[in-house]
């Protein structure tokens, strides 16, 4: 392995990402090549210096909880769609029943009201 080959592998070597065979070759090269060993030390320092920029994590659960506790628009839309489908099915069923009633002469035509037609009749109140 030439110096260029080793240099191109140094970062992966430092990260422990080289295959075992390459790792052994790079280790052997660094033992006798001052230039590559110097570069290796410099690159290792990058990791150490990078640690000088600390960043804290943060708790976001409270904000997430508020959002997921709110009604889910997707769920509401699903319910609305389901109800609309049910209404369509009921309308079709009612239309079918109306058709059946219309073709049976022995049954009087439905007036549209669930109460008997009492127009023109005198209504007598029960005594009790």
């Amino acid at each position: 392995m030439t110096c260029d080959d080793v240099m191109s592998r140094l970062v992966a070597f430092i990260d422990g990402e080289l295959p075992p065979r390459d790792t052994a070759v790079v280790e052997a090269h660094l033992a006798h090549c001052a230039d590559c060993a110097g570069e290796w030390n410099a690159l290792r320092q990058v990791s150490r210096l990078a640690g000088a920029w600390p960043v804290d994590g943060a708790d976001v659960w409270s904000a997430v909880r508020r959002e997921i506790a709110a009604p889910d628009t997707g769920d509401v839309l699903d319910i609305v769609r389901s109800l609309q489908a049910e209404v369509r099915a009921l309308r079709a069923e009612v239309a079918d029943l109306r058709r059946q009633l219309a073709i049976r002469p022995s049954i009087p035509r439905h007036t549209g009201s669930l109460l008997p037609d009492l127009s023109g009749r005198q209504v007598t109140r029960p005594l009790i």
């Binding site: 140094l10 410099a42 990058v46 990078a50 920029w53 600390p54 943060a58 997921i68």
Partner: protein
């Protein structure tokens, strides 16, 4: 409880289980987003958005071993990229001048911290994402490849380029005995 078990519980709408999932990953997501955006408040918003997207799609998500963290980090990165695209150039100029004032008043350690921060933030975004995930969050190259949806060799080359750039920029802070 591992990610798979947590996700199974969350799939049924169990908020307590989802809370455990959020608490397990929230700090890593916020740190990652902070180092991408250099804005802790926006970073928290990005992490929050990532969790909410996961919650909304929980019934469609099938958790395989170890890929939940990758998924969350990927979502956070996408949210951050959207945020950067939407940010106005004037905001960036204002922040840069504020940072200069801070540097003047800082101690030596803060000068170094700011130099590292600026050096990392100046990296091309793709290199920065790899460097942060590897150098700060400790992900392996394979995990980064899964997170960023790119080949393993691309991860290795981006990490190498990023490290070499930082090596040049941070040379003044390096120990002389360790230099070439």
């Amino acid at each position: 409880m591992d990610d798979r078990a947590l996700m199974e519980g969350a799939r049924g709408g169990d908020a307590w289980v989802f809370e455990q999932l959020v608490r397990a990953h929230q700090h890593a997501l916020v740190r990652f987003a902070t180092r991408l955006l250099d804005d802790p408040d926006a970073a928290q918003d990005a992490a929050q958005e990532a969790f909410l997207r996961l919650w909304r799609t929980r019934t469609r998500y099938e958790c395989r071993g170890g890929d939940l963290r990758a998924l969350l980090l990927r979502i956070v990165r996408n949210v951050c990229l959207d945020w950067v695209r939407a940010r106005r150039p004037t905001d960036l100029l204002t922040e840069a001048s504020d940072a200069a004032v801070v540097v003047e008043e800082a101690t030596q350690s803060r000068v170094l911290a700011d130099a590292v921060r600026r050096a990392v933030l100046d990296l091309p975004e793709a290199q920065r994402a790899v460097f942060v995930l590897s150098g700060y969050e400790g992900l392996s190259y394979a995990e980064i490849a899964q997170t960023l949806d790119c080949p393993l060799g691309t991860v290795a080359s981006r990490k190498r380029l990023a490290t070499q750039t930082l090596r040049r920029v941070l040379r003044p802070w390096m120990d002389e005995g360790d230099e070439e």
